[in-house]
Amino acid sequence: MTATDTGADTGTSVSPDARRLWRRGRGLLIAAAALLITGLVLALLRSGDNGTLHPDSAAPLGSRAVNQLLTDHGIDITVAHTSEEVLAELDRLDRNDWPAATLLITHPENLAPERRDALRRETLRTGTRTVLAGAGPDTAAAFTPGIEVAPSAPTGELDPGCATDLTERAGSAQLGGHRYLLPPDTDRATAAAACYPFAGLPTLVTHHAGGPSETVLLGAPDLLYNANLDAYGNASLALQLLGAREHLIWYLPTAADAPGSGQDRSLTDLMAPGWRWAALQLAIAAALTAFWRGRRLGPVVTERLPVSVRAAETTEGRARLYHRNGARDRAAEALRSAARTRLAPRVGVAPAAAHSPEDLLHALAAHTHRAAADLHALLFGPAPADDPALVALADDLDALEASLTPDPKDPSQ
């Protein structure tokens, strides 16, 4: 008898209670928690977009070493991720009368044009020194009008090639990348230094735009990497470029400042705020609907079904084998033999003698008035040459049987 009949605590329930759910799910929960914690730790350790030129990244392409060096020299470093932050910081530092800031832009080519223009205006106004690490044609056109960019050079150790305080202290440094073509009418007031040339064209240009503001174009940012800082005069050059003023704004442009983010506004930007929240509420409703529809009333029921084998399969298989191999001889013999077996009792021949030509043909010829030679060819002749001949043979055999009076005793039963 089942436990239900005892009447006391029902033993028929198979739904897990809270304790059983916890016991079954805790392993999974622990695994999920471990995964989450690991992910968070990794994310914290490797923050920033792959850490290139990030002041906190200790990776070979990070810039923690430069950061450390500057901090040791008393430079105050602010990290900014959006142009708004940069502008706000510049505005804050502008309260001092003396231009006190250096702005380092790590990936200037990633900036949208109007952001570049805004930064350019603000740096000119506040007299900020702007260092552009890896300044390409767009950047050069925006920040240093008149300077054009020539085809790139490989990065490597380059000699200063000019005589300034900067280069005298630093000596050779790791530079290269973009090379800059100064306009022919450049005077010393606007282009203070054009150094570290490769094949005659400089890869570091300092551009004075009047006032305390100046712009430094760096062909490649390699000298700021952790891995390269201790080579040649890299450390000295970096320190002089970034540490000349007491504040450094380290600007790492993110996707928000990238080209396109200004013009192509996303769907959510286009909606009025009310609609946005209504859409969120609808999303919640959709989730509830999914849960409502997704919850089944019990599991899918499966069943072991018996195998289905067709009894005639072997015979059908044999027919197909005959056909594929063109076994006309066997097929014809089977048909003829069956016909002979059926014909024999109708013409008064014993079943045992049905397959002997003499007995059967003689009796058949008497009954059908057909020539014995014809009947011999039909019932004992050679195998048909092709498939149409076989079909014709089957029809001829049928015709022969039909021409005889039917036998009341069916031999096949």
Binding site: T4, V14, W277, A278, Q281, L282, W292, T315, R330
Partner: protein, 435 residues
Amino acid sequence: MALTGRTALIAALGALIAGLLPGWGGIAAVCLPLLAAIGYDLLRAAPVRTLHLSRPASVSVRLGERAEVDLTVTNLSGRPLTADLRDAWPPSGWQPGTQYAAARHHLSVPAGERRRVTTVLHPTRRGDHAAVRVTIRSHGPLGLAARQGSHRVPGTVRVLPPFSSRKHLPSKLARLRELDGRTSVMLRGEGTEFDSLRDYVPGDDVRSIDWRATARRSAVAVRTWRPERDRHLLLVLDTGRTAAGRVGDVPRLDAAMDASLLLTALAAHAGDRVDLLAFDRRTRAAVRGRTGKDVLPAVVQALAPLEPALIESDMTALATAARAGAPRRSLIVLFTTLETAPVEMGLLPVLPQLTQRHTVLVAAVGDPRVEEMRTARGTATAVYEAAAAAQHDEERRRTRARLTRLGVTVVEAPPADLPPAVADAYLSLKAAGKL
């Protein structure tokens, strides 16, 4: 737990409020009351776990008929139960397409009371169908959320063989009565027993007139003969690989079962004892020592859960089991196949063991599909099929000849014709006094 469409609808309508009150406040204004209402519903819904469910352990039904399975739901909690209930059974328990609606019930059970729901099954397959589980979704008073849980309530629907050959029974019984001497037509044969004398009726065989008795009295007296009674039949079903082959859409085994049932019913009427043995490598089912009215139900019950096994039958073991099941002279009806290989390798060597003491009848299911192939003409494919069918027939003929030479009666017929053919063979043997 489960939610209802009402919850989703309210959440969707809440989008209006969220649109009018942009910000998290609007979302909270919709979601927090909804969440509270869901919580209240879950709290107030009758518990599912403590429900008491029971049903009868077993229900029997013939294949093709409907089975009603009751399920009693007792609500022992203090809260009324409003619930959707699904009584899940294997798919072949339902007519295709009806299982969704047929398995689901809506019921309400007041606190402390019990209600019965009846699930109607239309099994499409013979055998035992076991209930899978009962899932109950207990709704709260607001109709927003529900508790859901499952119970395992054992129960079986035993689907018996359909016995569609029952329609042949009256005509076969009439023939049996003829044999019995209750009609004017008399049959004479070796081994029949003298029964009694009665007056001559025109139509009687003149050879049965007892002249000595006629001389003693004024009227012409006729001797009546009665077929043997209390003979023993042993039906042996081969449930091995070949029994799984489908003829039409029915396994050979099912056709053999139908014939077994007709034969059992007929023999029970004739006053013979019937035993049954289903065997492949071991005994799958056996009925022994039942008499009179008990035997047919016993055979039906024994056959119901039988399925063909996909293994080669051990004919030697089968013959041993058959001999053990037939201690005295019997008619052994062997339901098997006439395929050349199994017969030559398995059956022929062991048949003499059976034929030396018993009368053996081999019954096999013929395939109408082969008949169809035999008459196929017109295209090369069809003629090759005809040739293969002719080859098949020739092999069959040779196998039958071999069996007949051993003194075995062979019956082969398509599934629908097999039961009457086997019954006729039995009656003929009985009339000939060969039992």
